[in-house]
Amino acid sequence: MSKSIIEQTRNVARREWKRMLSHPIYLLAPIFAMLFSYLFFLTMMSEGFPMRLPIGIVDSDNSSMSRTLERNIDASPQMEIVGRYASFTEARKEMQKGRIYAIVDIPPGFQADLLANRQPSLSFYVNDAYLVAGSLSYKELTYISELISGFILQQSLQAKGGTGEENLMPILQPIAIETHQIGNPYTNYSVYLSNVLLPGVLQLLIIMFTIYAIGVEMKQNTTREWLATGNESIMAALTGKVLPHTLLFTLLGLIGLFLLYGVMGFPMNGSIVWLSLAMFLFVVSHQSIGIFIIGLFQRLRDSISLGVFYGLLSFSFAGFTFPIEAMPHGAHIFAWFFPIRYFFKIYVNEALHGAEIRYSLIYFAGMMAFLLLPILIYNRLKHTILTDEREEIKNSIFNEQLQ
């Protein structure tokens, strides 16, 4: 009995494989889409940390002090002064055109006031509409200002005498901050994003192609033939159907892990084996979701709309850009229904934190729970497959012309 099930499954899988080969787009589209995404995201952010962000300066003082300030800013690898403007209004217009992410405004009399101890003030304007570029310029400009005022303080202390070199640091910076950025010491943006965006693309493709693989049989009225190949066993028909896709998508997923941790050298403080296992579960749990959706709607066109909707929401509910805790309470619960959420947690534990596996087991279990989904709609799907009902051609007015 069990042997025959395996044989039936193999027959269905062989049939599916032939279908994929005879419709190259069916086989090549997911491969191309996934490889394109790897190439796209990994080369797009290959710089890791955005350098030489264009900023502008309004120097109304035009003194040796203001020029020193300018040189200091320009010396920062993170920023580059690309424009000098006569007024703030003019600079602001350039900012609205998106050409500069920040403006440094030095008022007239800056140097004179500084020398006369009148504590002048300068202003930064940062465009945080572009959150990444804005936040980075903000941080860097603050850092440079602190550095310069520390430098001035140092000079005045030394001028006063009595303060030796060894006593300077405790005054300049009484508390030193040692920052440990766990798992991503260089604030690499690609690490933040690519690690989850790429599995995100993969899950979209898995869901859509699973829905399509089953839905197209319904649409083309070939469910009977499909079932016959599996010797009337729904179990064999379904397993054989998705198996070639499981192999294909797992392979694509593992290629991704190889690119991320092997080629790009992204941090991996845990075990790549556990993450690979998580990737496999990621693939089969999304296939289960695909089966569930098509079983629920029983029609290709409706299933596809829901599949896209769910697949795109996955990006939000992974919680990697905007944390789930920061969402309204009502939204928290939804995060449970996306395998990508569990995959994200496992990735954080393995790649970034290097936590022992016992902390991740619960997330593995979470992904496995999705494998139960096909059972829920088993009867419904069976009914659809057995009923030889052609999806009627509808909607179009040209229908009438056909008859």
Partner: protein, 403 residues
């Protein structure tokens, strides 16, 4: 003679207009009768903006849970902890004794930051030495990192300033001049266009434009695929009258344009006002800017639809491209840091200019002449995709006609 000639032209013109209107109404009929198309054109455009605005409405993370390890257990260290817990960004949920204890909550991802005050902290402050405080950041999300940097760094810097003044006093500089020594100049940090540094204010404008772009694309390709599939037409049934390209293309374009003028007003003008997203732009400029945007998206989609054979094809293959388009627009990873080939690639898609233009007008208050580059680019795309659509239609009808 002359008169009759003119009336002849006039009646021909009238005839063409009537054809355009006829085709437009017919297209409306097709859309309204097809529940799948209604879902894309009216359902998705209605739901997505509300959904995303709701998920991200808190803009940033508040009260992020962190742990404090206070090994100094002194008045000084308690003062520091009190200051760190003060800002709205952080909340101390664990007071622990050593770094070993912190593993459990950190690996369970219950805390996203750790502040470690070593044993010698207060001693060093009393001895006028430089004390060190360590902070550990969870790097799994940019917002965790930013909350930690803004919250913890600020608290530590502030405390450091107080100690600095005491030490300068001790060095013989007192009163106002001590204050001036610690801060020889002040710097004002101004955040423009997204004052709260919020995530929704940053991401949503791009998502809104993308919703318009993608629903139009999926709707148009789905409709064309549907018509072709039902073997009623090569591209469009009206092409059975050979050579009549212009009325068909204009008629169809007019359908989408009229539907999307209403949808545009809802998504681009109403949604930002309902959900308190940035909206300092001139609504009239937005409407004018989005005219070439809609036209270029419509013709772009019509061009691609020529190659789409089935109703479901585009919805299965291309959803992942929404994420690619979001990154191509240059609002997340800065345009200034994009590899040149992706910058050129991005110019193929109306979404790039649409998102940038909407950002600049709506979020940053630019006038239409400040987004001239994007505006002209969209008109060029409109012309380009219009002409290529005609050629593609011609090509396909000719080759299909022969076979």
């Amino acid at each position: 003679m002359n008169n009759s000639n003119r009336s002849n032209i006039f009646s021909r013109f009238l005839h063409e207009i009537r054809r355009v209107i006829y085709i437009m109404l017919d297209e409306y009929r097709i859309i309204l009768k097809d529940s799948g198309l209604v879902v894309v054109f009216l359902g998705a455009t209605l739901i997505y903006p509300i959904l995303y605005s709701s998920i991200y409405r808190n803009e940033t993370i508040y009260d992020m849970p962190i742990a404090v390890i206070d090994e100094s257990r002194s008045g000084e260290s308690r003062e520091l902890v009190r200051r760190l817990a003060a800002p709205p960004a952080l909340r101390v949920t664990y007071q622990l004794n050593n770094l070993e204890e912190v593993k459990e909550p950190f690996y369970k991802q219950k805390i996203h930051g750790v502040i470690h005050i070593p044993k010698d902290y207060s001693g060093k402050i009393h001895r006028n030495e430089q004390a060190t405080v360590s902070i550990y950041c969870d790097m799994s999300s940019f917002l965790y990192y930013r909350a930690m940097m803004l919250g913890a760094n600020l608290g530590i810097l502030e405390t450091g300033k107080d100690i600095q003044i005491e030490r300068i006093n001790a060095a013989g500089i007192t009163g106002r001049s001590a204050e001036i020594s610690t801060a020889p100049f002040r710097y004002e940090k101004n955040i423009l266009f997204n004052e709260s540094m919020g995530f929704a204010s940053f991401l949503l404008p791009a998502v809104l434009v993308l919703v318009i772009h993608q629903t139009l694309f999926f709707g148009i390709t789905m409709l064309t695929g549907s018509l072709r599939e039902e073997k009623l037409a090569i591209i469009d049934p009206h092409f059975r009258q050979k050579g009549k390209y212009f009325p068909v293309i204009f008629g169809k374009a007019l359908t989408y344009l009229t539907i999307y003028i209403v949808i545009n007003a809802y998504i681009l003008l109403a949604i930002p006002r309902i959900f308190h997203l940035p909206h300092i732009g001139n609504p009239w400029d937005i409407i004018r800017f989005f005219t070439p945007f809609l036209l270029s998206v419509i013709f772009f989609s019509m061009l691609i639809s020529v190659f789409i054979r089935n109703r479901e094809t585009s919805m299965i293959i291309f959803p992942f491209f929404s994420v690619v388009l979001l990154f191509l627009s240059g609002i997340s990873w800065p345009q200034s840091n994009m590899p040149w080939f992706w910058k050129i690639f991005s110019m193929l898609f109306p979404s790039t200019f649409g998102i940038q233009g909407y950002f600049k007008i709506n979020t940053m208050g630019a006038a239409l002449d400040q987004v001239r580059f994007e505006y002209i680019a969209l008109w060029i795309q409109t012309a380009f995709y219009f002409v290529t659509t005609i050629f593609a239609y011609k090509l396909v009808t000719r080759t299909r006609g022969r076979s």
